[in-house]
Point group: C2
Amino acid sequence: MATKQSGAIGRPRGFDTDQALERAMLVFWELGYEGAGLATLTEAMGISTTSMYAAFGNKEELFRKALERYTEGPSAYLTRALEEPTAFGVATAILEGAVRATTGPTHPHGCMGVQAALAVGASGRGPRDLLIAWRNDGHFRVRERFQRAVDDGDLPPQADPDLLARYVATLTFGIAVQAASGVDRDELQAMADTALRVWPPA
Amino acid sequence: MATKQSGAIGRPRGFDTDQALERAMLVFWELGYEGAGLATLTEAMGISTTSMYAAFGNKEELFRKALERYTEGPSAYLTRALEEPTAFGVATAILEGAVRATTGPTHPHGCMGVQAALAVGASGRGPRDLLIAWRNDGHFRVRERFQRAVDDGDLPPQADPDLLARYVATLTFGIAVQAASGVDRDELQAMADTALRVWPPA
DNA sequence: CTAGTTCTGTATCGATCGATACAGAACTAG
DNA sequence: CTAGTTCTGTATCGATCGATACAGAACTAG
């Protein structure tokens, strides 16, 4: 990945890879994997299809890299949330992060990890399975954090970390679907506040 | 819609319209609007594209009719749930219905109304907007039912019907997303039971 | 300068997309 | 029987899909 390296051999790239990937991410986020055609993608990226293939491999690889960027960008709230000192703080930060990430004014509404490839034809199996793994990974990380909370005495000993993580994930994904339907930030945040009024729910 | 009518003029239809629509619904449910190509649809329906166009108009019309069938079939639990005598009963029935409808062994996992067209390209705008309206309609009906519960004294006077309906909808859609990811019925039902342990949450 | 390497732009590939033209089959009415 | 109507099967339409061939541009190394 040694781009822009001085002393590199050959004609230098005429565009900013990071910026192109950012724009591709936004297109996938808004239109989904199958809804985003190469023409739409490359136009948004400001490059030709040839340059896209040279830089990213193919459409599926581009999607993978866009998802990585999404994880480290708009979805980074999850990692930060897991560092909250209490399980309640973790749950609160996750839901608030989800509301903010799915209703922002500067990007598509909804969550790329939920809407980009929920149901797809044959050509989208790879990306769909990738997103399933992505969502499961989020669940696992939250569950581990809640297990630690039980071990620490922050959550009561009879609390079920898997169940609580499942509950938080359910709310998060539900928020994403509704954000994609146009439900606004305030209403979703109020809903999240209501849900968190009882913690832990079990 | 006068099919099978004795005395009808012209060559009679060589296939069962209801059965063909049922099969189309299952394909849309599993593959989404853009993921379901005409070739896949007509093969599953057991008819040629010509017959499909003659009977249903075009792909988008076929999708509309498939969604109606979904509403009256797999999604009919919502209408039944709204007839429960208490708001708690309504919420319980909705979540249980959602779990069952999205994890059944005889049909695709997930909810057709959530996954069929969350994110789409230009050709899927119609179906996507149709599904947004479909989801909103569900929310409105639940909200009205909860408003009645407040009026009846079943819910406390300070309860917010919109917020409670939003909460139930969030859980329902979250369940749908996770069912599509392969989370099994028992786990989702346990999660729903946990969430309902406190009612109303506000 | 030349040789070697990499990127870009144009032009186009075969495959699939949704959709339709058209001839013939299958029915009713008389 | 004939005339009129509707459905079916084949064959194919233009448009778009993701992807690539190829020539030339733009760089480094020597």
